[in-house]
Amino acid sequence: MPSGAVASQPSVTETGKVSRASKDVLIKIKNITKYYDDALAVDDVSLDIFRGEIFALLGASGSGKSTLLRMLAGFERPTSGHIFLRDQDITQMAPNQRPFNMMFQSYALFPHMSVEKNIAFGLQQQTPKLSKPAIADRVSEMLKLVHMEKYARRKPSQLSGGQRQRVALARSLARHPQLLLLDEPMGALDKKLRTEMQLEVVDIIERVGVTCVMVTHDQEEAMTMADRIAIMDEGYIQQIGSPVDVYETPRNRKVAEFIGSVNIFETEIKIDEEDRVILTCGDVCSDIYVGRGVTTSIDENKMLFALRPEKTFISKDKPLQTHNWTEGRVADIAYLGGHSVYYVKLKSGKQIQCFWANTERRAERPTWEDKVYVYWTEDAGMVMHL
Amino acid sequence: MKGLTARLKEKLPKGKHSIISLPYVWLLVFFVLPFIFVAKISFSEADLAIPPYMPMFEWSDNLLNIKINLGNYLWLAEDPLYWEAYANSIKMAFWSTLLCLLIGYPMAYAIAKAPKEKQAVWLLLVLLPSWTSFLIRVYAWMGLLKDSGLINGALMGIGIIDEPIQMINTNFAVYIGVVYSYLPFMVLPLYANLVKHDNSLLEAASDLGAIKAVSFFRITLPLSFNGIVAGSMLVFIPVVGEYVIPELLGGSDTIMIGKILWQEFFNNRDWPVASALAVIMIMILIIPISLFHHFQHKESR
């Protein structure tokens, strides 16, 4: 599906979530394509960034997300297409002319300069020249913002990973950028520190009120930090939406599989009405009943039915409902603490995942080789085009 | 004023060409161009003039006369002395390279396997002598190897020998001098290669049941191939053209091409023959030099 069609209607997918973002378009990316020699890195991407939002580009490595970020920063020039800052075409503008600042994955702190000199560097480049006291004021303001006042005279090599990140953030915010770019902001941190810093970085960004585009391969990070997420794959944007949108209403199989785990069934439409759809599937014992209409065209008969593992129930007894259930055997169990993942092998041989919430310490649970029933409610699944 | 600096600022960052051109022009004029002159003069005739060769191009009666003299090459081909000199230089360079490799490899290996904090000091120990004068290090061996030198003196003092062994002015002395001077050039690239090896490869090999010798010959040695080539070329190529060591430590029977070239140039003042000698030397060395260049780039990638 061409990403252009997706990007032109961001408001459609944006449901529910209260965002601090306005509807005021700050950055307009129009039909950006980038080739490296013959390799296509970014394929006709168009999207709008609203003033005040945190926007995440989420994708695996090689999906083109970093290239897109680097084109925003000005380090790469698109092969074709345009980038607008409000009404100004900045496609060919050099990075040092753009009112954007970037926090690099490696933080890229200048190793021979102290923390305060690092933060002052960008301020010293401004024209008209800032006075020395003005720079000093801004530096101490930034140090205070990231709680690094005590470390002003340290060299980057004398800081811990989290402290380096704060300095990098302060440095990129010092010039009042109109757009803040974050390249894998938590990439260099270990897992525990990551969760802590995610919230802190969002807090700082919100206090400053800067618009932010971040790149990440970590879906948890994107969902924690961003107001809107664009899922990128092979240079395309597959879907743009709030975290809830992309998780609960994935547009296609790729998005559904990229974010979280999902069971996908190939189904045929049996009944297609305005407020309900009934599907049949060779893997599932009963009919699949979906309690809402699905836009289909007449010649489309085959659809995909996607079911998240946490929206299923397992029981040893046959459920009462006549549809939305199937039976199988427990092939494997992964105990993860908060919940367990049951791998249930259906009669057809297809294996599906179901979560079991471990709400009781020593509850009676199905075990290996048990015959179990898996069932779900009528609004648990998603119907997608092939 | 401001217009000028602004224009400069605009121009310079794009100046990919200006960055290239400064070192490039220097190299073209002072490294590449000279070889063209060497080639040219190797085809001219010697003359008792300043400079001591005849011009190749001459204008007379609106005619451009080009004189190409193949005599120098014929001269070289006819005299077995030159053949012998080339063969001997290659032979001596080959054996000294092998000696350097046999001594240098274990040394580089020892440094690379030493604890991290010691590596720098050990490497410094190996490199330090090469930062002092090359000439002086060759000279040091003159004092040791002389008939009345320290080694002969000591041996006679103990009573092992009655009269001094002839060591200086022999090929033996040249080998010692070459290995002594060029050993650091072998150790450095080998160390640089060996230190990059992932130790877990050896652990994996021993985990799979290989004894140390097997791991060394099947893992370490093949992986250090680039370093071996780089180090060997760094020794072999300059030694083929070495002049100072055979001059100071070698005897009259140590015929090496660098020495012959020097004599043709400075003693016989026969610049064309010296140039022809250089041209042939370059042609012999072009294969090892391109090998070196190839592996140098492979290694830096």
């Binding site: 970037m102 890229a108 200048f110 | 050993l183």
Partner: protein
């Protein structure tokens, strides 16, 4: 780590070190020998040092050599910084192979060939355009710059390859111009490599006898040429004294730079903990 464990490699290392250092040790010891004879120890004396310093010819050669080495090292490093940027950063241009080959070739090219070719160039240039008017320190400087540039480029470019490119990009991102980013950020970051390239070039220039012999002219005899001509005649304690001084200076510089970098490292570790 079991670094002290006995192994063949470790044994060879120390044998090699002994091989490298013993001759120099002997040289140093005999520079303090009263007698002119190398085999005979006739008592401690510093008289050869006195003679050395009174040798006006040798001393002026020292001055000349230091001067040439200083200028050669400086110009070689400047050219090498440009050349390294080309090698590392500019991956595509016509005749790049010619460029990289002529950067690495001087590393291995025998001195006699470089010397001869340089001389022939200078002679031809003088005939064609009248420059250089005569051969001397200027021509030695050009020749030394050329081959020191090759060594310096290897040292500097290997550091430049390792450098995290995003540091420079960060400077651009923060509004610095390309030149400013390079001068204020890249150069300081690679400065250790620049310093060692300079020192290496300095010693290489100070050490060269063959190339200088070809390209120098009357009245511009450098120290190695002077030493070489006296060494050809045989061993003299005066040269031993000179050698001792050179070894002493080099060891001192090496030790100081090692110590300073070690201290800086230790300090960094201590504060980072």
């Amino acid at each position: 780590m079991q670094g002290q464990k006995f192994s063949f490699a470790n044994l060879m290392f120390w044998v090699g070190i002994a091989f490298l250092y013993l001759p120099m040790l002997v040289l140093i010891v005999y520079s303090f020998n009263e007698s002119k004879m190398v085999t005979v120890w006739a008592g401690f004396s510093a008289k050869w040092y006195g003679e050395l310093f009174h040798d006006a010819q040798l001393m002026s050669a020292v001055g000349r050599s230091l001067e040439v080495a200083f200028y050669s090292a400086t110009s070689a490093v400047v050219l090498a910084i440009f050349a390294s940027v080309v090698m590392v950063r500019i991956k595509q241009f016509k005749t790049r192979t010619l460029f990289t080959s002529s950067i690495t070739a001087p590393l291995v090219m025998p001195d006699v060939i470089i010397g001869l070719s340089m001389l022939l160039l200078f002679v031809a240039l003088q005939q064609a355009i009248g420059w250089p008017e005569h051969r001397g320190l200027m021509t030695v400087w050009i020749a030394h710059t050329t081959f020191c540039m090759a060594y310096s480029t290897v040292v500097i470019s290997s550091r430049l390859v390792e450098m995290d490119r995003s540091i420079e990009e960060a400077a651009l991102d923060l509004g610095a111009s390309q030149i400013k980013a390079f001068v204020q950020i890249t150069l300081p970051v690679i400065s250790p490599a620049i310093i060692s390239a300079w020192l290496l070039s300095f010693t290489l220039s100070l050490d060269d006898v063959v190339i200088a012999s070809f390209v120098t002219g009357p009245g511009a005899t450098t120290l190695p040429i002077e030493v070489f001509s006296s060494v050809r005649l045989g061993v003299t304690p005066k040269i031993n004294a000179l050698a001792t001084l050179i070894i002493g200076v080099v060891s001192l510089v090496a030790f100081v730079s090692w110590y300073v970098s070690k201290r800086m490292n230790d300090k960094l570790k201590a504060t980072a903990a």
